[in-house]
Amino acid sequence: MAKLSIYIPPFSPDYSGVASTFFDLNAIAVLHDASGCTGNYTGYDEPRWYGSHSPIYCSGLREIDAIMGNDQKLIDKVIAAQRDIKADMIAIIGSPVPMVVGCDAKGIAAEIENATGVPSFGFDTTGTAYYDKGIGMASAELIRKFTISAPQIPGSVNLLGANAIDFPSGQIDSIRALLEENGIHVNASFPYGITLSALRTLSSASLNIIMSASGIEAARILQKRFGTPYLIGLPYGKNGASSFINRTRNALNGKYEDIISTGNDTARILVMGEAVASLAIAEALRMDYGYSKVATASLFSRYRELDGKEIIYVEDEAGAKKLLSNDWDIIIADPLYKRLAPNSKSRFISYPSYAVSSKLHLDMIPDLTGSNFNEFFNKERSKS
């Protein structure tokens, strides 16, 4: 259904999520578009682009080729690139025009794989779904193709949904370090920092930690194929992190405790952003500050694994405006949302989301790992 958006920018789309997932792999990833979709990814959804050497490309789609269904042109270009780049894999990533003309990205990928012998993927992304869906579908396909049954490493975890869009500035390294300091071995973070060999042995982990909703699809398939259980959460806040570490240890010992949802009724604080991060911030506020009721809102896709956590799903700008107009004591959200509640008396704490405001507030995106959260919250709360 069509939605008007007056003030808030369009969010990071599905094709950016797919491209981002292939960034650390030696993959030729091709956004099948004219130029703008690739520009979205390279300019606004990939904080690592400057100075990188990832062979992520635009197909240079033109009207006549779209109308005539001239897929061969794309196939030829990819084969030529593969001769020079010698990638380990190839991905064809759809965009709105291929969607309209009924382009078969999977079919094209199959032809390329046949011609080159290089494992190839096709994604019928459309630009009408969010980045988390793109990361989910790319992660699942990579696992299906490459992950083998490997010996399990007791006490080890994978960090799933660890991606550069939700965690653009080093936060994943902090979380990894915190886990390692607490004796929990990180088998791999995925997709951020993933290598082909680490991808093959994702099944070695005893537990998967879902750090963002984009990791749910990977967790599902790893559970289905290798029986690996998963835990949802992030170690935010001093006490929140201790609780998270305990939950992780317990889960490694077969005792699973879900992240606690604090409920929206009578809540005085609203946290709005990525679903898992919002839940983790709510948990930190409860564990470290005693706020028993914190409402959590997600701006992105719904997942059944998050059902029952009383997450409010914000469907559009009008919905966000209505939600923000409630009488909250504190709102924690991307600073662009402040514009939707100009007369609000709530204290507004800026918590930028790269999937929303991209580079506009990149330098303000905090690392909330452990006691960093307390420093952040104390500082923001004390601002007049």
Partner: protein, 411 residues
């Protein structure tokens, strides 16, 4: 150049149709597209503080299948209510690439909206890079739409519109003094504070097209408003600068203007820069100047050591220059910034002065020149300014990443 997958460097892009369209005072923009199509433009507009005039109507797959003609007519009133009390004089309704494939009836939508809102001018615009290889790519169609808003009041003003260039020509340019010598003022859209004064450009006596994207709109203005035009693009070749001014003088009846001081200043700048940089290599690309082959030829003729030109393909107005370089200077490397090998093969000429950020990024230049698409440059003053910028890049410390950030390039 062989057609390859396109590499998109961090220095790739330009103004984008949104920023171009925003030059029209009191205009607003409503994009009707899948949300993804709007992301780069929206963030780019926020950086430029233009976002308040830019909104979106996101459509999904079912809207595309059903067609969204009625939807636009239905949603525009809601949009106008939401932005009130602001009221556009012009509402540019943008559609994206996919619209080229589904047959939306733009004229009928405009008619229905115009009947309802007689105080607003509605225009359809296309953000459709899928048409980039055609004769009407988005930067051209955008300018056509903008200048199609001009009207003639019937009285001719002694003014000359500068068309095609998005940045105004520098205040100190000899172009301005040349025109004012004969009582002409130079008019540029970026100076216009309100829609009515912009529209008065329709009363100008002449359109001077100084960037290629302005040719098509100027042709249309000639037909519709009777404003003659000439395409005398930015050039750094002394013979061409001279010839352009002679043409312009003949057309407008300007004579007796003494260029000697301007010419002398330009030559002093050339000599001073050559004295400073000597035979230090220069790379030049299409993000620094509109016509890199033409600029490379000019610099070669002046004695500079041009080593590399980076361009996907020459523009029609510089094809002769490209051929001249190929035959007269076969040692000069011609590199395609879009080639797939650029993901892996860069830093190909780090010891060079790079005119253009994209070339600087690809060569790994330690001396990037702060210049985008000839901004502000024209005539003898343009040549002198270019030389000063080259010298400044050589002796100074331009940080490429900061320059690229400051350009706010939109793909």
């Amino acid at each position: 150049m062989n057609e390859t997958l396109h590499y998109t460097s961090p220095a790739h892009g330009g103004w984008g149709v949104i920023k171009i369209g925003m030059l029209v005072p009191e205009s607003y923009q409503l994009f009707v597209c899948p949300f993804a199509c709007g992301r780069h433009g929206s963030i780019g507009a926020s950086v430029e503080n233009l976002k308040d005039r830019l909104s979106y109507l996101y459509i999904d797959q079912s809207d595309i299948i059903d067609g969204y003609d009625d939807l636009i007519v239905e949603k525009v009133p809601e949009y106008l209510e939401l932005i009130a009390p602001r009221r556009p004089r012009v509402l540019f309704i943008f559609v994206s690439c996919l619209d080229d494939l589904i047959g939306t009836d733009h004229d009928a939508i405009i008619q229905r909206l115009s009947e309802k809102y007689d105080d607003i001018i509605f225009r359809f615009c296309h953000m459709n890079p899928i048409s980039l290889d055609s004769s009407s790519p988005p930067p051209v169609t955008m300018q056509r739409n903008m200048y199609a808003l001009l009207e003639s009041s019937g009285k001719k003003k002694r003014s000359v519109n500068l068309i095609g260039n998005l940045d105004d020509v520098d205040a100190a340019s000899d172009l301005r003094s040349f025109l004012s010598h004969a009582g002409y003022t130079a008019e540029h859209i970026s100076e216009k504070k309100d829609f009515d004064s912009f529209r008065e450009m329709g009363d100008s006596a002449f359109n001077l097209v100084i960037a290629p994207q302005g040719v098509y709109p100027a042709k249309e203005m000639e037909k519709r408003l009777g404003i003659p035009y000439a395409f005398l693009p930015v050039s750094y070749r002394t013979a061409e600068i001279k010839a352009s001014y002679e043409s312009l003088g003949n057309i407008l009846g300007i004579d007796g203007y003494d260029f000697s001081k301007d010419v002398e200043n330009a030559h002093l700048s050339v000599d001073k820069t050559l004295g400073t940089i000597g035979s230090y290599p220069i790379a030049i690309d299409q993000s620094g100047v509109m016509r890199p082959f033409a600029a490379a030829r000019a610099l070669l003729e002046l004695g500079f050591n041009v080593k590399m030109v980076l361009s996907h393909k020459p523009l029609p107005s510089e094809e002769d220059d490209a051929k001249w370089i190929e035959s007269s200077h076969p040692e000069i490397a011609i590199e395609d910034p879009l080639s797939h090998i650029r993901a892996k093969v860069r830093d190909i000429l780090p010891e060079c002065i790079a005119i253009g950020a994209e070339g600087a990024y690809i060569t790994g230049s330690v001396h990037p020149v702060d210049l985008t698409w000839d901004a502000g440059l024209y005539g003898w003053h343009g040549l002198a300014s270019l030389c000063r910028k080259i010298e400044s890049a050589y002796t100074g410390q331009n940080d490429l990443e900061s320059l690229i950030r400051s350009y706010n390039l939109v793909v």
